[in-house]
Symmetry: C2
Subunit: 309 residues, 2 copies
């Protein structure tokens, strides 16, 4: 290593762990990834896992560490209680907790929760990506993070104002593989293969009064009644589900115009397509870069803060 590391930044999710050594400008000096996510770790295992990776990266033994994600869950390393909406994204570091059992300084950042109006919701990790987006000037914006459980988040004046978790990916898997529709949706069904079918399903879901559960069975019945029609049940199911999700945030989308998409791959491309269909403009962001920027911002605040004490 030529430059001296300022901190180790860790994105510790349910199924993955990513570590970056960075200098104080955020330049990456070393990087590791591993499947040692929160989902597979006992509380007591965290220090050794972390030290193993830091040692492999040649990190000094007193290098401070900032962690975001599920490591801060109740069932993770040490609970970092949620900060409630509206949550100032630059202030997350103030609520970081320090786990026991490590000799170096380690800070685990909190997640964000929402109780307002009974719209209960939680996030852990995504708030640090939003903090990273803030670093690039996105302090009033609508964000979408596609995934098994996608998140939509509205950031206003640098605060996580409102967000919602939508189980679209999980529902797609359950419905296409385990419901009666499994008889219609092939296992290798490709929702991207027939964009016009996907688009038509999104358009249907965006119609006023659309009722998802009352439309799903038509996918099965169409296969029985029109076996020769050009249908792609995976594209139709995916379009109905993603369309229903976007219908729910359409007011925000119309107000902001742009939706910043944090993700990669096929699913994110389908969301971009559906957002366009709903009259919005999707803008792709790199999630790995964002979480690193958010972690660095917290690290700079934390260690600045420490030095001042």
């Amino acid at each position: 290593m030529t430059a001296s590391p300022f901190a180790a930044l860790v994105d510790w999710g349910t199924s993955n762990l990513r570590i970056w050594l960075v200098d104080s400008q955020g330049a990456v000096l070393g990087e590791r990834q591993s499947p040692e996510g929160m989902g597979g770790l006992d509380k007591a295992a965290y220090p050794a896992v972390l030290e193993g990776h830091l040692s492999a990266l040649g990190a000094p033994s007193d290098l401070p560490v900032v962690v975001a994600g599920m490591a801060g869950a109740r069932t993770g390393w040490r609970e970092a209680p949620y900060v409630e909406t509206p949550a100032p994204l630059v202030g997350l570091f103030q609520h970081a907790v320090q786990p026991e059992g490590v000799s170096r300084p380690v800070y685990i950042l909190p997640g964000v929760c929402q109780r307002e109006g009974g719209a209960y919701d939680v996030m852990r990790g995504e708030e640090t990506q939003l903090a990273g987006a803030l670093e690039q000037g996105l302090d009033n914006a609508l964000f979408c993070l596609p995934g098994t459980h996608s998140k939509w988040a509205l950031v206003e004046d640098g605060q996580a104002r409102r967000f919602s978790t939508v189980m679209t990916g999980e529902l797609f898997n359950l419905i296409s593989r385990q419901s009666i529709l499994r008889l219609s949706v092939p296992e290798d069904g490709d929702a991207e293969a027939d964009p016009e079918i996907f688009d038509a399903a999104v358009a249907q879901a965006l119609e006023p009064g659309f009722a998802l559960t009352s439309v799903l069975f038509s996918i099965r019945a169409e296969g029985l009644l029109a076996p020769d029609a050009k249908i792609n049940p995976a594209a139709r199911l995916s379009g109905l589900l993603i369309g229903a999700e976007i219908a729910a945030i359409r007011d925000d989308l119309q107000r902001h115009g742009k939706a910043y998409l944090i993700g990669t791959g096929k699913l994110t491309r389908l969301y971009a397509r559906a957002i366009t269909k709903a009259g919005g403009e999707p803008v792709m962001l790199d999630g790995g870069l964002l979480v690193r920027r958010g972690l660095l911002a917290s690290a700079l605040s934390l260690f600045d803060h420490e030095f001042k004490d």
Copy 2:
């Protein structure tokens, strides 16, 4: 047997089989039930299953038989092709088919399908219950048949005009047992135990712009964020799903006022509660009686028809 049987009436569903021997007035002279539904039978097995039950009932060897339900599916005994909406319910018998391999006259009634406006749908068995309701004067009415897949059917001037299958029961099972919400919904969760929670969820689902998939995760988050609150996740999930289903037919419900509910037990009681909440008036009907009446009406038409030939 004192009276002489006119016909054997058979409701042959996916998982059950019911047979009644009746006189020409519909009086039941004998009755059998069995789990030998279409789902577990090879095509070749039907004649022996039927003859076994008829013999146990002491039916004459030339007694004619009328069958409704999944025995008429492509994967059943012999396909009775669907009659398309608008389907005159008194005319179903005209499309009955006669299977091979039996020495007595056997007629399998058709199901009804819908292609109109791309709202593809199918029913087999329910149309005969609707025909039975016609016999008691319900020739302009809205029907709801709760079940794993519920059906809503609009009968106008004695025709099955429009209907839809809603996968509410199946979705409740998949979501409560297999999605992330399984961590919140106890296996023995009783949706009837907290009527006010069920009602509130129905009311939420009836609000304009309600988006089911964007609300589901709040059930999990509420359990995390308000662990001491009085919540009943089963009641809430059930209310959201049934409410979303009723929201989709609310125009029909407002026009007709009454919704005739064909079913029994807890699920039907929940539908009745939700229909009331939506401003409708639920009226319970006995499904077994209706299918028998519908079968008898077809039997009378068929054998009358035969005699005239």
